[in-house]
Symmetry: C2
Subunit: 155 residues, 2 copies
DNA sequence: TATTGTTATACTCTATAACTATA
DNA sequence: TATAGTTATAGAGTATAACAATA
């Protein structure tokens, strides 16, 4: 009876009432692509027990060790209060640590712990494999161009 | 003192330890673009009191009236149980209704209410304006190509 | 047996507002 | 006054597992 799979069917019939253009919106397609990718990512990295969102926190800390929570929030586009909870979770798992900043006792310098660095290192092969597998419908040139366009849009 | 804005700075310093390629991953850039777009969308449509996620539920119901909850979940890439809560919220606000399906008493046919249709109609101008504004750094050709690549990726 | 919807449960992600400590 | 972090609070979004009704 032809099972319907997620990636097969989205909007089976033409839209009525002249609103058929909405599914061609950037945000709509961006969101759908991101949801699909996150699910595949989560499945591909399940053994490491890190959500895509948590991975998205570890990466900028690894790339810019010592940044503070406000800077991390700015880099991620989320509020300072959101960062607190995210770092709490990662600190509880001993992946990230808050270090005092010599010149400013209000601020915390964020660093990956040795364990956090090891985790990221261990995850890299799975992450790369996922990247290759998930972008399987794109040529390498298309994949690069997609990333370039996304950067132009958001960064 | 040069305030740092979200769209200005992401990864201020080159990544150490040979992991600098991670920020070039598809998922990382997809997520960042989507977060930025959703926030701008939310701000641009704040008066309508609909989250980007809720908008993303209303659109496929409008495009495919009468679909059931399992089909909606498949279309959105989320679990059936997630759909229940999402529809509950929209039904409570009288934007969506569950109708009985003649041939199958297990199933609910989803439809926008008159109020839901009016809301969507009223939102369209703001949504289009947001689309134009947000993709301001892209040419129209680039915007179209980005959407084409996203469709190729996710559905 | 299989499918549709639901509930119970738990966790992540998010923001606003008010607060403390520090600058 | 302004900034960094925190807490309290609230809500959205998500999944898994178990269940009832129906097919």
């Amino acid at each position: 009876m032809s099972e319907i799979k997620r990636r097969d069917v989205l909007l089976p019939t033409p839209a009525p009432k002249g609103r058929g253009l909405l599914p061609d919106l950037l945000g709509y397609n961006l969101r759908r692509a991101q949801v699909a990718l996150f699910q595949d990512f989560a499945a591909a990295t399940a053994e490491h027990d890190v959500t895509p969102g948590q991975f998205g926190v570890l990466v900028p800390i690894d790339a810019t060790p010592g940044l503070n929570q406000t800077e991390l929030g700015d880099a991620m586009g989320v509020d300072r209060s959101t960062v607190v909870a995210a770092i709490d979770r990662l600190q509880k798992r001993n992946l990230v640590e808050r270090r005092p900043v010599p010149g400013d006792r209000r601020s915390h310098a964020l660093h990956l712990t040795a364990q956090g660095q090891q985790l990221l290192t261990r995850m890299v092969p799975a992450v790369r494999a996922h990247e290759t597998q998930f972008s399987g419908h794109l040529t390498e040139a298309e994949r690069r161009q997609l990333i370039a366009l996304l950067k132009k849009l958001a960064g």
